[in-house]
Symmetry: D2
């Protein structure tokens, strides 16, 4: 299946019913019936209204149909992931969290958990991968394995709604976008001079039990900020991170007297993201001998 | 040679000259002449006065004798370190910085630098190992290789004075001790409740290019402090360190509402020690969403 | 009545019963019966045990006798305070919070509240003045006027126990003192240089609705601390305070580049004391462009 | 003279020379010659270019004409200020710093300094009042009285350029405005919950030796910010300020456990503005037991 190009909300609202359904047939995995159920409810005033209507249609469906929707989803990182039977959307989503780059150990761990999950609940483990890191997916596996069947049916639906909303946001152009993005930003203040900390290299790492992965490396601008969010335009993957600020180089360049070696060189700030749609502002207020940070917004 | 037991300053002051020299013969490596030169200057009012007198005797000696003293010192981590020709004191000192646990790569790096040093200056590389970590010794090698012969002769003497003072402090018992010790301490304040952060696990790591080494792991007491300094009773080895405070567990135990995963779990503070005889107080003032630190005293 | 000199616990333990009672007859206002009740319980292992025994004797007394003890206390700042009928102890205690320096307005306010209190409860308003400031006494008046009779009977006893303990602590010498003192301390850290802020003038003011009163003005020493606690050796009076740190002068003297006028000149920290027996450490971590403070311990 | 309404840069560029001069005749006090000198240099690409051209015309004028321009300015707060001979612009500007509300003492102080200034330099004391508070004007008086004649001639011109630029900015409409405004903003972060401090009353006071003046009182919004800058759309008057944050009420409303009385109730932050065209961001990061602030941007 080839990628579907985007379509405007206005066009969706005026399209023939068949074209409307075709355009949204894979928002819910292999389930054009969701779009069919709401085709007569057009026009939708906003993409949020369209999204809500699709969710309501799934909620209103009989339990067996919901179960069928759930079962249509591929096993996460399982055999399906390597055989080409996923929808195009599923494929590109699952590469996001690094699920296409599993080590042998991780792959067998995923398979083990996936098997245990399927044995206990009889359904595939569904999770909105773009809202997670590899390690938070493993954490979710372990937590959700402790659920009962009913709670897990509900959790699976909620994850499907997250997945569908993200797909919808990419498919449909509208004036007001769905609020699905989070933002991670930073800001360096040099309290020695009361000015922004400009020209400081900041690295963002994703941390996991198996090691760390460089997400991005940027340099602060004249305002002590980064030109773009460290992560933006997408949900913030739930997980553990570390920011590293190269303040030793900065102070040395400015001729600030330093100890040898400097008391502070690379300042690490380790934190976790729990709300993928939140704004995490993690500033650094720093001198050669002190610093503070906090979750701002 | 067997370890020499300690002796009191009072006994040194009243001992026969020969016994005085025997007791202090190896304070300066293979150089009993230093003690001989000051035996008639007794009594010494304090161990500091004794130490100063020995330093003055070395300074007053002819250049050739100073050079002989320098040359008597073993090659750092070189062949001598593995053959048993060092004084007992040298041996136990050099194990301090982990020089007896060099990887093959490090060993060859030390040998290479040692060779380059000896070639350029014609003397062994002398450094007071107890004031350094393995990585700061490598840094010193590289810095000092850029010195000229005269500056390096002087630096070698200064390092010998550090070494001798530490030996003297261990050998001689006196009311007032030589001030050779530094101290690394910490303190956790929980700003959510305005109380000390009690029962928090704090780990101290020494960082080096080749990895990290756990120095100590302690738990804060009811005052939010550790029962003893993290490093104390000795010079603080120059080098890079990281403190890690397990604040996530602490706040969870106290029932403070946290995100899932908690925004802050392990708080790392990375810093360097530049003054082995200094007091480094590195406190943490923390909430589940913010923290600050500074070099206190 | 003349001031009673102090007496040792050892002497109290071995004194004749009559002398024991005489020495402690005014620990509880006009109530030698409290000392009488415990004379046969000697020896007391500590002053804390003696204090506990006196409290237990009051608790064990019939309600009418407790009431009589309560009624023996002078009206706070009322006519008795100006007529000489108080015990010597009461007089010197009430001058502590500035109750002997009431403005006409405050005097009439105290009289009004005292009258309302006596009308509602039929007893004088009893409060341990040394644990309060003038304004917290007024606050207590208003709060306690809302109590019922039973709660207020209990509160009066508790205040009497505070008063008696402080008197006992002054009267009796013992190895281990009663823990009745609080402490207010500070510490200035200069984060520009990573050193203690030495030579900084710090003023402590007590704040009240009618204005502010300078409690003490000190200069930080080489450690950035004050030689003695700002308040110590006594309970900390409950109330509102402001510390003022003259950091502008300090940075100017050190030649740190400053704006004109300096961004920070006098840094005020306004806080309240709620635990008279607590340790309030209120440090300042400061640069010319930033500062932080917290309740430490 | 009546207030002149604004005119667009486009209209100025195409107006007859006489109308151009008439529109800008009082930008420089009683000195239409400045506009005359540049009428043929039109069109001006921006208001900044127009402003620069007027400054260049003054700089290019003979010293006597510059002196005449200086002398045309009214005595600050002197007789002229009460007699109606100032231009309309001068009048409304001088009311800004409270110069129309001088106490008798301040009035005589201003007159004394004004007299001393005129005696020493033979010119009126000129200062761009909108960039100052009453107390910084007094400071400037004292500083500038120590200048020599030449430095003071230059300073008077620079102040005239500030005054003229502000007048020009108000008179002429253009796409890009002159950058004459400063901004004072704040932001409250609640580190107990990691969220913005919403609904907190913040008061801004201007401090002077004679007392304090409430500038504005606002309440933080859901973002912990104020809807508009505390001072904005104008230069920040150089001077001393205090922000007061009512955090005690805020934490009490949120049900956070507090001491009685609360350790922190009103948090004052005292600071000075030195750059009228700067951005002063003065945030508060706060818990019930700690806070920090810094000059941000």
């Amino acid at each position: 299946m080839t990628p579907v190009v985007s379509i405007s909300l206005a066009d969706l609202n005026t399209a023939k019913a068949g074209d409307f359904v075709a355009a949204l047939s894979d928002i819910y995995e292999h389930s054009p019936w969701v779009a069919e159920a709401i085709a007569t409810r057009r026009p939708f005033a906003s993409i949020a209204a369209l999204n809500d209507a699709m969710i309501a249609a799934v909620r209103a469906a009989p339990t067996e149909q919901q179960m069928k929707l759930i079962i249509e989803h591929p096993d996460l990182a399982g055999k399906a992931a390597r055989a080409g039977s996923m929808t195009y959307s599923s494929k590109s989503e699952q590469s996001g969290a690094g699920l296409d780059q599993l080590s042998d150990f991780e792959f067998s761990e995923f398979e083990r958990l996936n098997g245990a999950y399927r044995t206990k609940f009889g359904i595939p483990f569904i999770i909105c991968v773009r809202r997670h890191t590899k390690s938070s997916i493993l954490n979710q596996f372990e937590k959700r394995l402790r659920n009962d069947r009913k709670a897990e049916h509900e959790t699976a639906l909620e994850e499907i709604f997250h997945i569908a909303a993200l797909r919808l946001g990419q498919r449909v152009e509208a004036l007001e976008r769905l609020k699905l993005d989070g933002r991670l930003t930073t800001h360096v203040l040099d309290s020695t001079s009361g000015t922004p900390g400009a020209g400081i290299t900041v690295e963002l790492f994703e941390l996991s039990p198996s090691g760390e992965r460089l997400v991005t490396s940027v340099v602060t601008n004249r305002e002590g900020r980064t030109e773009a969010p460290l992560i933006g335009g997408r949900p913030l993957p739930i997980g553990h991170y570390e920011l590293r600020f190269r303040v030793g180089d900065y102070f040395a360049r400015r001729g600030v007297p330093l100890a040898d070696p400097a008391f502070l060189d690379v300042v690490p700030i380790r934190f976790a993201v729990a709300e993928p749609e939140g704004h995490y502002h993690v500033p650094l207020v720093v001198t050669p001998w002190s610093y503070s940070t906090y979750r701002g917004s």
